[in-house]
C-alpha cells in the first residue's frame, strides 16, 4: 500500500512502529538523496513559519533556487470538531462549526444552518429578514476575510503597509459585527431557523457610514499595489494553474475564477435569496497570483454593493421576525442587555415564568434536549471567500448530528501547491500559497 517514504521514516520499537514526527533522520535522508548524484537540498518550511499561512508544513526539494518537489504537510491544527459535534445538540453545533475557518466564521455557520434547515424541511419558512441579515453579514465577512488575505499575502511578499491598511478595514467590519452579534470573531450568530437576534437600533445607519468609509479606504490599497511594478513582477506568471488543473483538483473560488470561468455559487446555485441581488462575478484570465489578487480586490466592491442592497431591504422589513415561526425549532430566548450583561430579556422571563406554560416547556426542552431532526443526509454548498464550502450532514432522527463533515475549500485548494510551485523559485511558493489563501483551521478541522 505504501512504499518507503524518505520523509516519514519509521522504526520498530517494542510498542510498535514509531514514525519520526520531525520529518526524518537527516543522515539517512541525505544518503538517500546523495545516491542520486545530484545537488539536491531538502528544506523543511516547518509548521512554525512567518510566511506560511498558519501551521502548514512545506517540505521542499531544491536544486539551487528551483523547487523540484513541494509537498504540503497538514494536520497540525486538527481539532476533531466533526466528532465533537456528534455529542452536542444541533444548535450547539453552530459554536463548533464557527471555529473551523476562523476568518469566515459566518460562512461556516450559514452552511451548517442551511444544511440543518434542509434536513428539517423548513428552508422556505426561514423569514426573509433573517435571510437578508445572513446575506449582509456574510458579505461583510467576505470583506474582512479578503482583507486578511490581501494583508497577510502582501506581508509575506515583503509589502508591509498593505497589511496595516487591510487590518484597519477589518477593524471597521469587526466593529459592525460586535455591534450586531456581540463578538468580533467566532460569533455563533446564525442559528438553525434564522439568526440569534435582530439588529440593534441605529445599526443600519452605522453600517451605511461604514460602507462609505470602506469605499474611501479601499483606494489606499489599490493605489499602492495595482500597477506597482515590483508587485507585478512578484506576482505575474507565478502560481499558474489553468482550468483543467482546477477541475481535476476540485478547486473553486478565486483560484477557479482566475482561469476565466465565472463559476460563483451565489449566481449558479443561489441560496439565502442571492438571486435578488445585483452583483457581478469577477474573473481574470491570467491564471496567476496577480489575477487572483485583482479578483479579491474587485470582489470587495461587489460585496459592498450587496451590503447596500441588503440594507435597503432591511429598512423595508422593519419589525419582521428573524427566527422561524415554528416554536418547536426556534431558539427561544429573546436576548436583551440587562444589569449584568446580555441575557434573557425580562419580558421573556416574565412570559415563561408567569403567563405561558407552553413557552416554558418549549424553552426548557429546546435548551436541554434540542429539537429532533428527521433522518436523512444532505449536502449543502455555499460560496465562501475561498471557494465552495460544503456541509454534509447526516441525521438519525435524534437531537444530535449523526455525522457532520465539512468540505472545506482550503483543503482542496492546498493540494494545488505542488502543481503551482514545482519548477519555480523558492520565493514564488510564498506567493502561490498566499494566493490560494488557505486557512489551516478549515483545512484541518
Amino acid at each position: 500500500m505504501t512504499t518507503f517514504d524518505p520523509y516519514a521514516p519509521s522504526r520498530d520499537t517494542t510498542e510498535g512502529t514509531v514514525y519520526s514526527v520531525t520529518g526524518g533522520d537527516w543522515d539517512s535522508l541525505v544518503q538517500e538523496i546523495g545516491s542520486t548524484k545530484e545537488e539536491r537540498v531538502v528544506v523543511n518550511m516547518g509548521p512554525q513559519h512567518p510566511s506560511t499561512h498558519g501551521v502548514l508544513r512545506l517540505v521542499l526539494e531544491l536544486e539551487g533556487e528551483t523547487v523540484t518537489e513541494a509537498r504540503a504537510g497538514i494536520g497540525y491544527l486538527h481539532t476533531g470538531i466533526e466528532k465533537n459535534m456528534e455529542y452536542r445538540s444541533w444548535t450547539q453545533g453552530t459554536t463548533f462549526v464557527t471555529r473551523m475557518d476562523y476568518l469566515a466564521p459566518l460562512f461556516n455557520e450559514t452552511a451548517y444552518c442551511l444544511a440543518v434547515e434542509k434536513l428539517l424541511g423548513i428552508t422556505q419558512d426561514v423569514p426573509e429578514r433573517a435571510s437578508v441579515i445572513r446575506v449582509m453579514m456574510m458579505e461583510l465577512n467576505r470583506i474582512s476575510s479578503h482583507m486578511v488575505a490581501l494583508g497577510t499575502g502582501a506581508l509575506e511578499l515583503g509589502a508591509i503597509s498593505p497589511m496595516f491598511f487591510a487590518f484597519r478595514e477589518r477593524e471597521i467590519v469587526l466593529d459592525i459585527f460586535e455591534m450586531i452579534s456581540g463578538l468580533r470573531m467566532n460569533m455563533a450568530y446564525v442559528r438553525p431557523g434564522g439568526v440569534a437576534q435582530d439588529l440593534p437600533a441605529g445599526a443600519i445607519a452605522k453600517i451605511r457610514d461604514a460602507v462609505k468609509l470602506m469605499r474611501k479606504n479601499f483606494k489606499d490599497n489599490t493605489t499602492l499595489l495595482v500597477g506597482n511594478s515590483i508587485w507585478m513582477k512578484r506576482t505575474q506568471g507565478i502560481g499558474y494553474l489553468d482550468l483543467a488543473g482546477c477541475t481535476t483538483l476540485g478547486i473553486t473560488g478565486p483560484v477557479l475564477r482566475s482561469t476565466g470561468l465565472p463559476w460563483d455559487l451565489r449566481k449558479m446555485q443561489p441560496y439565502c435569496g442571492y438571486e435578488n441581488y445585483n452583483f457581478d462575478v469577477i474573473t481574470a484570465d491570467t491564471c496567476d497570483v496577480y489575477g487572483r489578487f485583482l479578483i479579491r480586490m474587485n470582489e470587495l466592491e461587489q460585496s459592498l454593493r450587496i451590503v447596500e442592497q441588503a440594507l435597503d431591504k432591511l429598512e423595508k422589513l422593519e419589525g419582521a421576525p428573524v427566527m422561524v415561526a415554528d416554536k418547536k425549532i426556534a431558539w427561544p430566548a429573546q436576548l436583551a442587555m440587562g444589569g449584568d450583561g446580555l441575557g434573557n430579556s425580562l419580558n421573556h422571563i416574565r412570559e415563561i415564568m408567569g403567563t405561558s406554560m407552553e413557552s416554558l416547556i418549549h424553552h426548557f426542552k429546546l435548551v436541554t434536549e434540542g429539537f429532533h431532526v428527521p433522518a436523512g443526509q444532505v449536502y449543502v454548498a455555499i460560496e465562501s471567500p475561498r471557494g465552495e464550502l460544503g456541509a454534509h450532514v447526516a441525521s438519525d432522527g435524534g437531537t444530535k448530528p449523526y455525522r457532520m463533515h465539512f468540505r472545506e475549500p482550503s483543503f482542496n485548494n492546498l493540494q494545488a501547491t505542488s502543481a503551482m510551485s514545482e519548477g519555480g523559485m523558492v520565493a514564488d511558493i510564498i506567493g502561490a500559497v498566499a494566493s490560494i489563501d488557505p486557512v489551516m483551521g478549515g483545512v484541518d478541522r
Partner: protein, 198 residues
C-alpha cells in the same frame, strides 16, 4: 551596617551586599534589568488559530498598537525572541513542535497562553487537543477568552510586564523559586477545595 541583615526593601542580604552600604547594588540591578527586559520584549510568532488573528490585530498598527510597548518586532526565529504567545489550539501533532520552539528560545523567556484553548483546552475536550499548553511548556500568564479581545491581550502583556519588572536575580531568585515550589507542594488541590457547600 552589620546590625540588621535586612535592607530597606526587606530583602535578606548575604555575601557581598553586606559590605556595601544599604544593599544598593543588587536591588538596583534587579530593577534595572527588569525595566530593560519588560520594555523591549520580542514576541515569537506562534499564531496557530483564531487567537492568532486577534494577535495580528494587536500587532498591526491599525487600532491596538503593540509597538507602544516596544513589541512590534515579532521575531520569526525563536532564538531571537523572549516571549512566546501561544495563540490558538495546540493539537497533539503540534505539541512536539511547540516544545522544540520553546527549547530554542534563550532564557530569560516567558510564555503567555492566549485564549481558552491554550490555557485549558477550551471547548475542545477531546482526543486531538492538548488540554492546556502548560502540559508542554511552563506558562506565566493565562489569558481566557475565545478569542480574547485585543485589549485583553494588551492587559495580559502589561501584567506580564509587571511580573518581569518584579523578577529577582541571583540568590534572591533562588529563594523565591524555593518558596514558590514549597507553596505549590503544600497547596490544596482544586478537587479538595470544598467551597461554601462543604
Amino acid at each position: 551596617m552589620c546590625g540588621d541583615a535586612v535592607d530597606w526593601n526587606g530583602i535578606k542580604k548575604m555575601g557581598l551586599e553586606e559590605k556595601i552600604p544599604s544593599g544598593f547594588v543588587l536591588t538596583t540591578v534587579e530593577k534595572l534589568a527588569g525595566y530593560m527586559r519588560k520594555n523591549s520584549l520580542w514576541p515569537a510568532t506562534f499564531g496557530l488559530a483564531c487567537c492568532a488573528i486577534e494577535m495580528m490585530a494587536v500587532g498591526s498598527a491599525a487600532k491596538y498598537d503593540i509597538s507602544r510597548f516596544g513589541m512590534e518586532v515579532f521575531r520569526a526565529s525563536p532564538r531571537q525572541a523572549d516571549l512566546m504567545i501561544v495563540a490558538g489550539r495546540v493539537s497533539n501533532k503540534m505539541a512536539p513542535v511547540l516544545r522544540q520552539i520553546y527549547d530554542q528560545m534563550a532564557a530569560p523567556k516567558w510564555v503567555i497562553a492566549m485564549g481558552a484553548c491554550a490555557s485549558s483546552g477550551g471547548m475542545f475536550n477531546n482526543y486531538a487537543i492538548v488540554q492546556g499548553v502548560d502540559h508542554v511548556v511552563p506558562v506565566d500568564i493565562y489569558l481566557p477568552g475565545c478569542p480574547p479581545r485585543p485589549e485583553m491581550l494588551l492587559d495580559a502583556i502589561l501584567k506580564l510586564h509587571s511580573k518581569i519588572y518584579d523578577e529577582k536575580l541571583g540568590s534572591n531568585r533562588a529563594e523565591i523559586i524555593k518558596e514558590v515550589e514549597l507553596a505549590a507542594m503544600n497547596a490544596t488541590p482544586t478537587i479538595e477545595m470544598k467551597g461554601l457547600l462543604a
